[in-house]
Amino acid sequence: MTHHAHAESHGAGHAAHAEQNWFLKYFWSTDHKIIAMQYMFTGMLMAMIGGFMAYVFRMQIAYPGMNVPFFGHVSPDAYNSLITNHGSIMIFWVAMPVLIAGFGNYLIPLMCGCDDMVFPRLNRLSYQIFLLSAIILIWSLFVPGGGFGGAWTAYPPLSSTAKYNLTPMGSSMWVLAVALEFAAFLMGGINFIVTAMNARAPGMKAYDVPMVVWMIVVASLLFMASVGPLIAGAVMLLMDQNLGTGFYNPDRGGDPILWQHLFWFFGHPEVYVVLLPAMGIVAEIMTVFARKKMFAYKTVIYTVIATGVLSFFVWAHHQFVAGIDPRMANVFTVTTVLISIPIAEMCFLYIATLYGGSIKFTTPMLWALAFMAEFLVGGVTGIYLGASGADIFFHDTYFVVAHFHYTFYPIAIIGTIAGLTFWFPKMFGRYMNETWGKIHFWGTIIPFNFIFIPMFWLGMSGEHRRIYDYTNFPDLAVPWMQQLRIVSTVSLVIMLLFQFPFLWNFIYSMFKGKKAPANPWNANTLEWTTPSPPPHGNWPADDMPTVYRGPYEYASPGRDTDYWPQNERA
């Protein structure tokens, strides 16, 4: 099938859909842009819930036993449920929907120059199932016994046995929600891969594809290859919980460690599943605002693929002290430390992209640069944990908590806000306010570091995770440690308060912001060649873009302008 035949058949489809009423348009729309925004807004709403949970349990840690404003007393079971659902929400219902599903849906058709996803109805189904999974998760917090409190890793036998976790309904609903969420992203993933591989504009070769599309495709491949074992594991967990099977029960010949392998076989690639889209977003923004070609574009893609492949061979570094054969740790410490090779290369190439640039510090660029600076902290602290000997001490301490927040926070929050502020003019045809954008930026980044740097220190002093009151342990109850916990908590509250200007800026600018042209940043990629916001079908069916060059031809010699859109004839 040629591209244009494909476009026309969809164009006809759009005409037939013109009389859709409001409900059909927003609840059953198959337009990738509507679905993308539904994913993004659902993810942002979940982020607020997850952020509120963090506020509640951090208040309890800093001031044990207090009545937390807007919540009340935090009981131990409520505390466990809050930390469990904070982690689950932030990874599965914020990072995944916003970064992969949100940006993937919005950008892949627009950047590849096609009118919609290849399987638009599957795309719609994916969001409906995702929404259902989110509703089940939130609902699980209010059922008798309360929400699941066995940590987002849900290790059995605690997660599989009601008499141990005391949340018979909450834990089953948690597993069900997670399994449904994975099913939703499987459907999304197949769409991203097929669309990016088969529906690109004429002339767009593999190495003309923008970095973020490459990264979302590789991330989707990683997700699809890793999630199968975990869905199987989740079904076994549901059966252990409700049907009396014993997959994870040693009394019935099962093995609790089986779950850990299935979980982390997915769980570690998952880190890269969310990292890669964020790295892709950062690449788009850095090239535009440094007015630079990506440094060694192909090498970056090779490092992405190498990282993806390696990420399947590192999972047991989460289980060094879990009771696996200790000899296995030697294999996994080698693979884990070696993943620094492609990742370091990738970071070096990103930083090299700045060389020779003309760097404008707009709000999206500040977020993209902050991603690099903060992610490096997360990267290097991972070496401590990958080094098996040191992990004996660091495992399940706050050092781990600080480490992965220095990776996930740049990914899920900094990368997301970078992308939102960058593509906002495209999504809504208006600019966001720059001054408020910068206030929000500094008000987020500075407190962020004050939240997590103390946690490295506390972890190095032996503070273990998931404890609602450290004054129960004499060596951890010393005043300087409690003061560090208070520093963390106060910084968190400040950071959360600074999100209100962002929300206001976002909503206000959506309706009242300064009007933006089709290509406000003088960028090259195809999404900037269509009006803002793009119409249904993205381009007129008889005027779909054709691609003549790569995505990063900035400051190309011999031209008057410093950019060269991909679809402009030579």
Partner: protein, 241 residues
């Protein structure tokens, strides 16, 4: 010293040394990379009349700046791996001949310790059970059997830098040798239910005289039998409530 807590086992120094080594190796890279990053941001900030350069990344004189650091990162990785494996093998893969034997049992939400008693051998008549404090003698190699009665727990003694998960249905063997006397926290580092936040104990590292006196004082009770059984029963009852 990187870690601000006491170092009280024969391998805690090895682990601290590994942490220090990693800190130096990644610290140098971290600060060098950040310095380069911020220097580039300042050096190539947008200025009137200065256009950006067209660089593809294939230029040999620029690729050097990637390739040489990259090779050096690989060298650092190899050093870290060797150091990490050496420490790991010492702590987790070797089992020095024990001077004393203990059994550590995790259950929701307490640790129970079975001491070998005066003969240092488990499951003999002179064993001593406790549920709050583990008593060991300084400078003696102690071999532990780690078990769990219900869910996963993790036996964590920060001053020893020792951590090992306990798994229901398995017995995991490990060891430590304390190098200084004192009382320190024993924690449970694996979430184990609503009481995870109170599950802990203390380790009393005693001089040979103190330890002998403690064993002596408690062996009498153990011989009588009832007190020990009562205390274990009380622990179980407390946990299942």
């Amino acid at each position: 010293m990187i870690l601000s807590i006491p170092s009280a086992s024969t391998f805690s120094g090895d682990i601290d040394g590994l942490v220090t080594l990693v800190s130096w190796l990644v610290g140098v890279w971290f600060f060098a990379t950040q310095a380069m990053f911020f220097w580039l941001l300042w050096r190539f900030r947008a200025r009137d009349g200065v256009k950006s350069q067209y660089i593809t990344g294939k230029e040999p004189h620029l690729k050097r700046w990637i390739n040489i650091p990259h090779a050096l990162v690989l060298v650092c990785d190899v050093v870290i791996i060797i150091a990490a494996v050496r420490v790991w093998v010492k702590v987790k893969q070797t089992l020095p001949p024990p001077d004393d034997n203990i059994k550590v049992v995790g259950q929701q939400w307490t640790w129970t310790f079975q001491h070998g008693g005066s003969d240092g051998v488990l499951d003999t008549a002179d064993d001593i059970w406790t549920s709050d404090t583990l008593h060991v003698e300084v400078n003696k190699t102690v071999q532990f059997q780690l078990e769990s009665k219900d869910v996963l727990h993790s036996f964590f003694v920060p001053v020893f830098r020792l951590k090992q998960d306990a798994i229901p249905g398995r017995t995991i063997t490990g060891w430590f040798q304390a190098t200084q006397t004192g009382n320190f926290d024993i924690l449970c580092a694996e979430i184990c239910g609503i009481g995870h936040g109170i599950m802990g104990g203390r380790i009393a590292i005693e001089s040979p005289e103190e330890h002998a006196a403690w064993v002596q004082a408690h062996t009498v009770v153990a011989d009588a039998g009832t007190a020990t059984i009562d205390s274990t029963a009380a622990v179980s009852a407390g946990a299942t409530n």
